[in-house]
Symmetry: C2
């Protein structure tokens, strides 16, 4: 058994194709609902069609692409309703992780958490949206790491991939940091205070506010034409 824990679902394989396509999808190089023809991807990435096929299988199980039996794969369109569902699942799971993290955090963990909190304050003060978005991700990941919940971590990693773009747009939404910063600070405070109940409540409150904000950013950000 390794030291860190088995969060990598042992799939090994050739990591390059599946990761390349995953990055392309999450990075927005493929539009939602765009067809992903195996032969095209095969040529684009310079690998065999079977490898592309395996990669698409993997991405389908991650929920990033959608496969229809004899009709091929396409980028999965995550509707607003699904984004809300996913965030509600995050609420439940990250709430659990926050509680566990409050129970298990070492002094070293607390230092790291407070460091992120301080950086967040600075980023918001400096108007550094991009930096704040990155810190946001790091904070949530650190809480999961401290919690030691490998299962929840794996599930959450999978779900996060499905709406990274929406999360990013939310982070860039004007006025959003003013709301989320105190929520993040409350999470850090509760975990550092070793108060599981408060930590879970703070995390759930934060993600509840994300749920409430999702329709807002949806309205202001015009949808790409997603006909058919």
């Amino acid at each position: 058994m390794t030291a860190a824990g088995p969060d990598e679902t042992g799939r090994g394989r050739s990591p390059r194709v599946v990761d390349a396509i995953r990055d392309a999808v999450t990075g927005g190089e493929f539009a939602p609902n765009q067809r992903m023809v195996e032969a095209e991807l095969s040529e684009r990435y310079g690998v065999n069609r079977a490898s592309v096929r395996d990669a698409l299988l993997e991405l389908a199980s991650e929920g990033l692409v959608e496969r229809i039996p004899n009709r091929g794969a396409r980028v999965r369109e995550v509707s607003l309703a699904e984004a809300v569902e996913i965030t509600e699942v995050r609420m439940a799971l990250e709430g659990l992780c926050a509680a566990k993290a409050a129970e298990r955090a070492t002094e070293e963990d607390r230092v790291a958490l407070r460091g992120i909190a301080a950086s967040m304050r600075d980023a918001v003060a400096a108007g550094d949206m991009f930096g704040y978005s990155d810190l946001n991700k790091r904070l949530h990941e650190l809480v999961m790491t401290i919690s030691g919940q490998a299962t929840a971590r794996t599930v959450l990693a999978r779900l996060r991939g499905q709406n990274v773009r929406r999360q990013f747009r939310l982070a860039m939404h004007p006025g959003r940091p003013a709301v989320s910063l105190p929520e993040h600070l409350a999470i850090v405070d509760a975990v550092c205070a070793a108060d599981p109940v408060a930590a879970e409540a703070a995390m759930r409150a934060h993600l509840r506010s994300v749920v409430d904000a999702l329709p807002e950013v949806e309205k202001s950000h015009p949808r790409r034409f997603d006909a058919l």
Copy 2:
């Protein structure tokens, strides 16, 4: 949004091989840590090795088998610690579903829930462990269905596959129904009373008791020799 919900992660493909192997694994035809050589499975199920390969990829992403890059796949051994983690995740997620179900349940749903509750009482009174185990599964699934949370449902379905056998052993544990029956009835009552807070609390209390019971059944049930 569709009516029933898109819980089938669009993987399509040839369902037969992957389902056959999945059933074999969850049914205990393969011992934990047993090697699963692609060529052997290929012959056993009368399909090509590539199909077996795809199936193993799928099962690896479901957490049922473990794949090591150039060394093949084997049945994943779910440790007690992992089973606890999985149940804790279920606690968080099914708690969410119970709350949502309490908000959304129709009169028809309530009738179905009370029907299961009554059948559970009868099964326990008659000492029908097997029937009770089946009703247990149906109750949890019905709550998920009523909740309308397709995302949580998909995640939970995946997790359940990883410790069906342990769940079954737990249900068969002597004295267990006496503990779990009132918990199940409390869940049904709270959902039927349209009380989300109580429903979530009841579900979480139930799965907390499952977490607490896991080490017990582990002790009384001798582990199969899992060397190496």
